[in-house]
Symmetry: C2
Subunit: 355 residues, 2 copies
Amino acid sequence: MSTTQTNKIETIKASSTKINEVDFSNLSFGSVFTDHLFECDYKNGEWQKPVIKPYAPFLLDPSTRVFHYGQAIFEGMKAYKDENDDVWLFRPDENYKRFNTSAVRMAMPEVPEDIFMSGLNQLLQLDEAWIKKGKGNAMYIRPFMIATGTGVIANPSDNYKFMIILSPVSSYYSGEVKVLIAEHYSRAANGGIGAAKAAGNYAAQFYPTNLANKEGFQQVIWTDDATHTKLEEAGTMNVFFRINDTLLTAPVSERILDGVTRKTLIDLAKSIGIQVEVRSVLVSELVEAAKNGSLKEIFGAGTAAVVSVISGFSYQDVYYELPKIEFTMALQLKTKLENIQNKLEEDNFGWTVKI
Amino acid sequence: MSTTQTNKIETIKASSTKINEVDFSNLSFGSVFTDHLFECDYKNGEWQKPVIKPYAPFLLDPSTRVFHYGQAIFEGMKAYKDENDDVWLFRPDENYKRFNTSAVRMAMPEVPEDIFMSGLNQLLQLDEAWIKKGKGNAMYIRPFMIATGTGVIANPSDNYKFMIILSPVSSYYSGEVKVLIAEHYSRAANGGIGAAKAAGNYAAQFYPTNLANKEGFQQVIWTDDATHTKLEEAGTMNVFFRINDTLLTAPVSERILDGVTRKTLIDLAKSIGIQVEVRSVLVSELVEAAKNGSLKEIFGAGTAAVVSVISGFSYQDVYYELPKIEFTMALQLKTKLENIQNKLEEDNFGWTVKI
Ligand SMILES: Cc1ncc(COP(=O)(O)O)c(C=O)c1O
Ligand SMILES: Cc1ncc(COP(=O)(O)O)c(C=O)c1O
């Protein structure tokens, strides 16, 4: 992967910086944004001239398509600063490809690699002071695209806006995570948009997740909507199950997001001799393993939380607490991944890309 | 249903009207908007003071939740002007209730009846000159709500904006409608949001509908995502099948929108002695009926197109053309419905409400 560097993007600099107003030791995830953003509009069937400009609100007509028919996709990635002040991206080509896969499924135009990658690079360079060193610290990068055409008729939009915004984040501590296995609600349909990072997929999960929260569960693990017998993924994370010494995770499908962290952990696990099985995991199998003591760990994997340990799950009103283990695969894999991302350990996979 | 009239809503009038720029004999659906809109914001856990003001773009932060996590719902209804210049709504209580059903499913706050109904009434009164008389002419009303909170974290928003915008429309002529029966793609999951008028449901259909368009089909009739054996609904219409002299339509479910036109046509059909069966209709049954000649009509039912005649369907690469019938149930029901909506025929059902 080359981080294609083309001509310099037109850049309108902010007259002052907000960086001094930010308490970097106390960041709430995704709530603080840097001084600039990257923007490129699509109209008349083509991408217009991209621009980097001060982060600011923009005007939209009340009939803008994204409000009514939901064409909106995004990506989530991170940049890391190493001890030499170099800034690194982690597998940005994966996010770029997935963004366009989402675009196709949502009938939106694909973003050219050059626009995506140069935008990303030049924006990160400009707001580089906002990226802090140290494990856990990162710049969360949010590329997204919305339908900006107008008119209340249920057709694909003619105009779109692609933007990248940056949000500095620090270690994500979610507290204890207990999960509920979905028995009625679902996040995705066969032949639906579950594999796309489409805005509508997230809103669909809020209500059932709220219900789970009220019962004391932080997250829902979704199951297939037809039978609710197969374990799929969590709201913003793929899920791994350790039964004895084997790590299990569902294959990606049109209902499951092809997570970058998931595929990275699979490779990392294999590289350190952990046996990994990518196959459908049945709820019944999980319950059985919990009962007979062979279920050792469950953890979520995603860019935001990296690896998120799950302490127990509930299914059919029975709560299954996981054993407390000293040396977990979750911690082993998380440490290895963060070391590679932060350039503390050699990257033998070619995943890290310098900007 | 009472059209609750409360205190006058604060109204900021447009300094001039755009009405003279509009060619009312040549309206493209949903593309022209009146001079004013109704707006009410939700923040700090409550609905703020509503306002009617000039139709205009508004500012949103790039991290606004609706762009990223898709909390957005809408309604579609119409107002009609009769020969005495009185303006009538059609079953507005149904749209109001459905709006809040959608809100609950999308973890958004319900809109109080008073805000919804007074907003609707006072806005229509103010822009009343835009409503034209005559069958086919109507004011298309678009109430909608979007998440306006900021921050890129996949949680329900704290702030929301509820708006009503108005678009004058004339007779909807869609040309010949051939449909494709979905064999792979789907619009809704069991336990999903198919029954909500949520923005994300529409974007999800664009790509498969584009594929169908390319093969010469204007619309897709969706089937259940688990087996693709049961006929469900079209993109923005419920669907009726006439086999011999019986009208069949699928029961509403968590995958199917509870259409106002659908339930109205069921009642109208029954009132004129047509036998109606609300039950699952199998694709195999439809194909069989098409083959043996008992399939007489298929039509869609929805607020925008009212009743939309379908001339044939394709399934497993076989195209089934419907017979050309003189006196169709579709036309019979459409005429009756439009007569009631336009106050040309007595409304024995109490469906029409004067504003
Ligand atoms: C639904 C869903 N599943 C899984 C993931 C994890 O994907 P990644 O590891 O690429 O961040 C995400 C996103 O972050 C997601 O939104
Ligand atoms: C998915 C869907 N089905 C059916 C309908 C028909 O509903 P109604 O008759 O209330 O307009 C609509 C909307 O108009 C719709 O969006």
